[in-house]
Every structure is written in C-alpha cells, then in structure tokens.
Amino acid sequence: MRPGATPHRRVVACMGTVFSFDVRAPGVDSAALDEAIGWLHWVDATFSTYSPQSEISRLARRECAVTDCAPEVAQVLAECARLHAATDGYFTDTPFGTLDPSGYVKGWAIERVSDMLRAAGSVNHCVNGGGDVQCVGVAAAGRPWHIGIADPLRRGHYAAVVAGTNAADLAVATSGSTERGAHIAGPDGRPAAGAFASITVVGPSLAFADAFATAAYAMGRRAGDWLEALDGYDGYAVLPNGRTWATGRLAAEGSGAPRAA
C-alpha cells in the first residue's frame, strides 16, 4: 500500500452521463484519481460528437486528417475497424453515415481509467460509466464484485446479478433502448429492430464487452448464436416479453431459474 492511498467514492458527470468511481481498500492517491478523471474529460472533449470543435467533429467534416489529431483518435478508429470485422459488420463507427465512434469510446475510456487507477496502485476498484462497468480485484476480502443488471422492463428492479468468482477483471456492458431511445443502427444504417429489451455482455475487457453488446443488440435474433461462439465473452438477454436467455458460462453456472414474467 502506498502512502496517501485511501478508498474513494466519486461521482462525475461526463460524456452526457454519470461516472461512478468506487475504489476500495487499500485505495489510491487522490491525485491519481483526479488525474484519471481529468483524462476522462479530455476524452470527452476530443471525441464528443456534440461539440462542433472536437477533433472527431472536425474529422467528420473533413476539416482535418486523422494524422492531425491526437494519437488516441487513430488508435480508437483502428480498434473500431478491428471490431467491425470481428462483429460481421454489426459494430461500426459510422452508425448513421457520419463518423461517430461513441459506441466504442465510452467503454474504452472506462477500461482505460480503470487501468490508470491500477497503475497508480489500486488493486480493488469498480468504474461505472452510465451503466457500463469495469471491475478490478474484489469488493472486499473474500467477496467478489456483484454487478446488478437493471431490469429494462421494471424500473428500479434488477433482472439478474453477475458475480465474478475470483479477482480476475470483470466487465459488464448493457445495450438497450430504455434510457436513450433507439440509437443503434444495423449495417444497413437503419435503427436496429427491438429484438431485445436489453442485452448484456460479460467478459474481461469493457472496451470489447461494450462493443459486443452494441453489435449483439443490432444483430437481433442472430445474437444468441454469435455470442455463444464468442471466446471469453458471454451474453444475457431480456426480451420485450420478459423472457430471458443466457449463453456459455452465464447459462451453465447460473441459477437457471426462469424469471417471473
């Protein structure tokens, strides 16, 4: 444990949503947490599609080239291209015809601030950005992180709980239309049909889990087979009629009890 390291709870408005930092014992320096939050705001300023002067907005208007932007812009676009290929085209950084890597940026940024905290000495923390969660370590000695999945059909209730079973990194990302309306497009550029009330993807990396959840939502009925074949990541879906399904380890090790409709 480093001198000055303490547990922290911090809530920060950024990227049009709210980020919750939960750093548990032994904790981290306040300065390191401030630095991570400062970086998050820099990401917002650089990648915001709402700000006309952000690098991503200028790039979309072709006022500059990728090479004129911060190196992170090229890194993000390269990762988006990789994910485009890995999701059969369902994940895209041009969802409605204009450059908009937002579907990747938030999950990537959350995972990266989590790694910044780890680099600063934190071993147990959880960063939640608007409902996408990256956990490191454990919640307490002998108790893994427990992440509730919000019930998309009953506000204020949980549909299920995901728990890590050891201290391995745990990422949980959920896509749905409940909070922001339809905002995910299929490869044809049209808004994705509502095959799911919400779909959650669980795995070690939030950047991937978030992009895979977005892609799975856009895939609709195909998503189950696709997630089942995905190595290291599993899915949990709540359908509009209240039925649920899960893939892989989520299905194999879950309680399996059908949810009350």
């Binding site: 709870r9 949503t17 709210v18 919750s20 072709r62 080239a65 990728v66 090479t67 190196p71 090229a74 890194q75 390269a78 990762e79 291209a81 990789r82 485009h84 290929a85 890995a86 938030k106 990537w108 990266r112 959880c126 939640n128 608007g130 409902g131 919640a139 992180w145 427990h146 992440i147 509730g148 999945i149 919000a150 204020g156 949980y158 709980v161 079973t165 050891n166 391995a168 745990l170 990302a173 959920t174 409940t178 909070e179 922001r180 959650t200 669980v202 795995g203 991937f208 074949a229 995905l230 190595d231 290291g232 599993d234 949990y236 649920t244 989520l250 299905a251 090790e253 879950g254 009350a260």
Partner: protein
C-alpha cells in the same frame, strides 16, 4: 497527383508505424486479443517476416488502386491503399485504407491473426461468472449496476445513484 499519392502513402506509413508502436512497451488496455468468433480466417498469404516491434515495417506497401487511377481521375475519387503486414504481440495485422484525396474515409484490417500462445493462456484463466435471477437478484448485495446508458438526468432516478449515495455517506 504524385503529391497526393505521396501524402497518402505517408498517412498509411504513419498508421502502420502507430500499430507497431502500440505493440511495444505500453500496450493499450484495449489492444488485447479479439475473441475468435466472427474473425476472418487468417490470410493464406504468408506475411513478411518482420520481427515483432522492429519498427522497420513502415514501407509504402502496395498501392493497388492508387496506381490504377493513372493520374487522370480527380483527386476526389476514392482509392484503396494496402499497408504492409505487421507482426505485433497481438498477432499479424495488415491495414487497408480507403482515401479520397488526402482524407481517410475508412480503415479496415485485411489480415488479422489475433491469437498467440500468451493470449490463449489469458483466456483460459478468465474467471467463471455466476448469474442469479429473480428473487436472489433483488436481495443480493449489489456493488454496481449495468444497464442501458442513462443520461445525466436519468442518473438521478437510477439504481446506481442510490448505490452511490449509500457509498458516499
């Protein structure tokens, strides 16, 4: 026209250099191996035997469509430029860039071998995960909440804000 092509090549070289830089020292947290499902099969064409992270891979690569434009078409025509295959610690990566004039329209990977021994090992060590539904979910001690992205206003009414309030007090 030549100037345009040169700048395009420079951009591709820059991207490829960036990728090989990524493989050295401080990998991005998100630059890990992609899971295998849905990945295109590795190209049967053997990649040049560049050693990992050598940085000596930023040559011009092949410019199939760029040369094909013959200097007659306007700079606004979209062209595709292929980068060299680069071996990184995450596997072999080859970039294809579509450009209009000097602007990059699209970046894609024509070759992608995401796995090596180390990443397989990491995958096999991934934590098993439990899922509890219904009654258990309502009564379990929950640390954080995943759901469709909420707005700043929506946060106020969210389960997460309740957890944060409890934790901060």
């Amino acid at each position: 026209m030549k100037r345009v092509i040169l700048s395009v090549v420079g951009t591709v070289a820059g991207l490829v250099a960036l990728l090989s830089f990524k493989a050295q020292g401080h990998p991005l947290p998100t630059a890990g191996p992609l899971p295998s499902a849905g990945l295109p099969a590795p190209s049967p064409t053997p990649a040049p035997s560049n050693s990992a992270g050598s940085g000596a891979t930023s040559g011009p690569g092949s410019q199939s469509a760029a040369k094909g434009s013959g200097g007659t078409s306007a700079a606004s025509a979209a062209r595709t430029v292929m980068g060299n295959a680069v071996e990184t610690q995450y596997g072999i990566v080859q970039v294809q860039v579509t450009v209009t004039g000097t602007h990059i329209d699209n970046v894609s990977f024509v070759q992608l071998q995401a796995f090596d021994g180390r990443s397989q090992q990491i995958n096999s060590q991934a934590a098993p995960i439990l899922l509890q539904e219904t009654v258990a979910a309502q009564s379990a001690h929950i640390d954080s909440v995943s759901g469709a992205t909420f707005t700043s206003d929506g946060y106020v009414q969210s389960l997460q804000s309740a957890l944060d309030q409890v934790g901060i007090r």
